[in-house]
Symmetry: C2
Subunit: 196 residues, 2 copies
Amino acid sequence: MRPRDENKEQLIRQMAIEMIVKHGLDGFGVNKLAKAAGVSPATIYIYYKDKDDLINRLCVAVAGKMMSHGFKGFSPEMDFAEGLKIQWKNRMEYFINFPAEMEFIEIMRYTHYYEEVSKSITKDFGAILGPFMENSIAKKQLIPLPFEIYWAIAFAPLYQLIKYHYQGKSYVNTTFELNDTLMTQTLELVLKALKP
Amino acid sequence: MRPRDENKEQLIRQMAIEMIVKHGLDGFGVNKLAKAAGVSPATIYIYYKDKDDLINRLCVAVAGKMMSHGFKGFSPEMDFAEGLKIQWKNRMEYFINFPAEMEFIEIMRYTHYYEEVSKSITKDFGAILGPFMENSIAKKQLIPLPFEIYWAIAFAPLYQLIKYHYQGKSYVNTTFELNDTLMTQTLELVLKALKP
DNA sequence: AGTTAATGAATGAACGCTCACTTATATTTG
DNA sequence: CAAATATAAGTGAGCGTTCATTCATTAACT
């Protein structure tokens, strides 16, 4: 039995992400991807059922990797400020080290493909962040809040800054580069909002 | 000379927004749009140069309308808390009254089409929000911040809540409905973060 | 030899877009 | 006032192209 060439699948996935980041979902096609990865279109259909399956599984894989990275060194028992800081640092680190994957997810987040992702990571996400919230509230380090408000204030600003970074320009400045200082400054304000 | 049937263009625009909101940019096509609006595909090309032109002009128009609505009753001389509250209320109002347009923009925001929108509204946006920031800082109602951080904290949480609303479910709760109470609660926290 | 990986050409469907044409209104003419 | 003319709106069939997907075949490994 002839074994699969794992490098091939790896290359297919990598090129797919690259193509979507570079040219958007519109500019992405199976034949183009095959040419870019140096394989036959038919080969792609050995690994994936169809185009949707390919994109879906890419999203789930990347988002999962990203999420687990976000919780590196984190535990729900941590003090609120420390726990939030670690998560911000992790997400920032990921965004620095894997810019293509980060931008890929930022693109996919607003397509119907992301529903599948939500299904697959929602549970783990709530299972970790939920107890972290409860513990923090019990320790009086976080004001009691609905989960959605908590998330909106705790993380949306960070992702907005990342979006500005990739966009390269915001409403006022012609260029914007996210760095550690700006991240820390923003995090401090977020903590100020959420602490009792 | 036969006059244009303005209802036709209106219907084309409305159906286009509806289609993109319902089926995403992938599910949107000129022929489909023509059938949905009950006109010939060729008619669409009387009003728009090509598909990109159609989408671009739709984005610019809707985003412009949305932005001007956001500044209704607002002036840069207002006190910070009052000015921010008015903007949140306006955006919330828009999101209640024109849910399709709001969701349309939320979808388009992360596509390459939005670059054109940025170009067209960036100036007005900065011209109003810039002075508002400066005034607020001078009055010691707002801590000095880079514009991007200000925007990320002042507005990203609101848009995140709106996104949750459309998504209908967040990481924890199975359903989420944004209402005035939740909005006000979130705004209070944002103000707490931004006030000196 | 047997099994699966991998191929490249081929396919029908869907796409954006155009063209030859008709229809509706405004203007000119007698 | 009405008929003739001019002009732009609007049409529907169909063009060439691109797309996702498949199939008959070959290559590579156990």
